[in-house]
């Protein structure tokens, strides 16, 4: 009897099965945007430092601002808190950055 059980178990393990792929279908991204051209140099440029709102991010960017002042004084930095929380759009700030800045560094964690 024991031999029969072993035999049927082995048969079960050897039998081939066809199963479905359980994963969803990635939604096609309609539009991929190229990154903005890079700057040749940061000298004489205005760089925005934008905190998106996670706790600690602003304080870190304060240190980064101070680092630029010490090490790269020719670069002007503007430290900003993004209006609203980190999940909200801030179109006014985006427009200001396009208008006023040559580049931007986002602080996106905390």
């Amino acid at each position: 009897m024991a031999q029969t059980i072993t035999s049927s178990r082995s048969t079960l393990h050897r039998a081939l099965q066809t199963v479905f792929d359980p994963l969803g279908t990635p939604v096609e991204t309609k539009k991929y945007i190229s990154m903005a051209p890079r700057l040749d140099t940061l000298e004489g440029k205005t760089i925005y430092l934008v905190d998106v709102g996670f706790a600690g991010g602003y304080e870190f960017l304060e240190q980064l601002r101070d680092w630029f002042a010490r090490r790269m004084p020719q670069t002007r930095t503007v430290l900003k808190r993004k209006p609203g929380n980190m999940f909200m759009d801030s179109p006014d700030l985006w427009e200001e950055i396009k208008r006023e800045a040559h580049g931007v560094i986002f602080g996106v964690g905390g």
């Binding site: 359980p22 994963l23 991929y32 940061l42 240190q63 808190r81 209006p83 929380n85």
Partner: protein, 438 residues
């Protein structure tokens, strides 16, 4: 879409200025190169061709509907090693089993049910009725459960969205479907003693993994993770034992409709030891609510029917009466409220923008009491339990949305097995002896 990242050491939050300065002058956590140089590099190094003309990631490539045939042992291993399960053995979604599962709905297998992503505004995946059925089979569900599982899927909400804070979810079922598929709303409803509660809750987890694309360390960064992610507190409301309006009726649905409601949060406190006798349940709940940061001013109570009856006897005629009392009487010092990092992150910007009541609260002395659960409509109550003790659970869960189960039913009757699988019913002390010899 490509972006350039530099990574500081971690954590940033709570670090003194001296440590943050060390971070800036130190190395990138990932590359090991000086962080400041990495940042400057990101702003000045010429774009690669991919950065100029981004292309879809390889994961977006079309997948085959069926996997290559293999043995059960190998396929079980494949599903686990691919990260397509919750780490427990699954029922393999064979063609026969999925075809049988699809008899649980009248909707076509290729109908799109929704889109899901665990990462906020991340890359979504879409899924069909068939994909939901596949994950339902894997969870061990039967066709009779499929309408509830499809309803959950139709919300597009993952059970645990990606956050380093480790979210948990909850699914509450109301209406006639509860009895039709023998869900448990009574004794031990939140424990692993009911087939329908177990497989529906697990199906939500598997859908989150496979249809919401939850990949640990990639799309999912929950630091501690959450044990509720295994089943998502899936149960039914005990409408029959409740003295109050059912939850779905509160949301505007007919009592005769079958509805699943999903919630999201982090924390659950059991009222163990506080039975609404020495101190009223409302006061005890207010004490518990003070332990939460009151993010978004939300709370959800899972309350044994005995507590509901006791509160009604005390004059709380409706769930809303309880919510109003809690909203008005749960108070914390302003300093405690603003001292929570999540409140700082979410509500300080609102205070700075002049949004009330945050603008006022931000200017109060630290010891001034405020009532942070300021909108009683955001305090929910669901009656669940077997009346073995007047206790309850206080959670920081937010009500997200509700979805129709009836929409997903098969034409005619619910597709039920000839002999439906049922775990032993939780009938406590049916003979009056509770197992104690006379």
């Amino acid at each position: 879409m490509p972006l350039r990242f530099s990574f500081t050491p971690y954590p940033v939050v709570g670090m003194p200025a001296s440590r943050l300065r060390e971070y800036v002058e130190g190395n990138d956590r990932v590359t090991g190169s000086p962080l400041a140089s990495e940042i400057i590099h990101a702003l000045t190094k010429s774009l690669t061709s991919e950065e100029q003309k981004p292309v879809p990631r390889p994961s977006a490539a079309p997948r085959t509907r069926l996997l290559e045939a293999d043995t059960e042992e190998n396929l079980q291993r494949l599903f686990i090693e691919k990260g397509w399960t919750d780490g427990l053995p699954i029922v393999l979604p064979t063609e026969d089993r999925v075809a049988e599962m699809l008899e649980g709905t009248s909707h076509a297998p290729d109908e799109i049910v929704g889109q899901m992503a665990v990462a906020h505004r991340g890359e979504y995946t879409s899924y069909t009725v068939e994909k939901v059925a596949i994950n339902a089979v894997m969870a061990g569900a039967r066709p009779e459960h499929l309408p509830v599982i499809l309803a959950i899927a139709s919300t597009g909400n993952p059970a645990f969205p990606s956050s380093t804070t480790s979210f948990a979810g909850m699914a509450i079922v109301n209406g006639p479907i509860r009895g039709e598929i023998a869900m448990n709303a009574g004794l031990g409803a939140l424990s692993p003693f009911n087939f329908a509660n177990s497989v529906i809750g697990r199906a939500w987890t598997l859908m989150t993994i496979n249809l919401g694309n939850a990949r640990l360390g990639d799309t999912l960064l929950a630091s501690t993770g959450h044990n509720l992610n295994y089943n998502n507190m899936c149960c039914a409301e005990n409408e029959e034992a409740s003295v109050w309006e059912p939850f779905h009726a509160q949301k505007g649905f007919s009592r005769d409709e079958s509805i699943v409601s999903v919630f999201r949060g982090w924390s659950v406190i059991n009222s163990m030891g506080a039975a609404n006798s020495i101190r009223p349940a409302t006061e005890e709940t207010a004490i518990m609510l003070k332990a939460f940061p009151a993010l978004h001013s939300v709370a959800t109570l899972i309350m044994d029917p005995l507590v509901a009856k006791g509160l009604k006897d005390q004059g709380f005629q409706t769930k809303q009466d309880v919510a109003r009392w809690l909203s008005e009487n749960t108070k914390v010092p302003a300093g405690q409220y603003w001292g929570a990092d999540v409140i700082y992150a979410f509500n300080r910007p609102l205070a700075r923008a002049g949004v009330e009541p945050y603008a006022t609260w931000a200017n109060l002395p630290a010891d001034t009491l405020i009532a942070p659960y300021n909108d009683p409509k955001l305090i929910n109550i669901v009656v669940v339990g077997g009346e073995s003790n007047p206790l309850w659970l206080t959670t920081d869960f937010r009500y997200v949305t509700s979805a129709s189960v009836d929409k997903w039913r098969p034409a005619g009757r619910l597709k039920r097995d000839a002999r439906p699988i049922r775990m032993p019913a939780g009938v406590a002390c049916s003979d009056g002896l509770c197992g104690i010899p006379s």
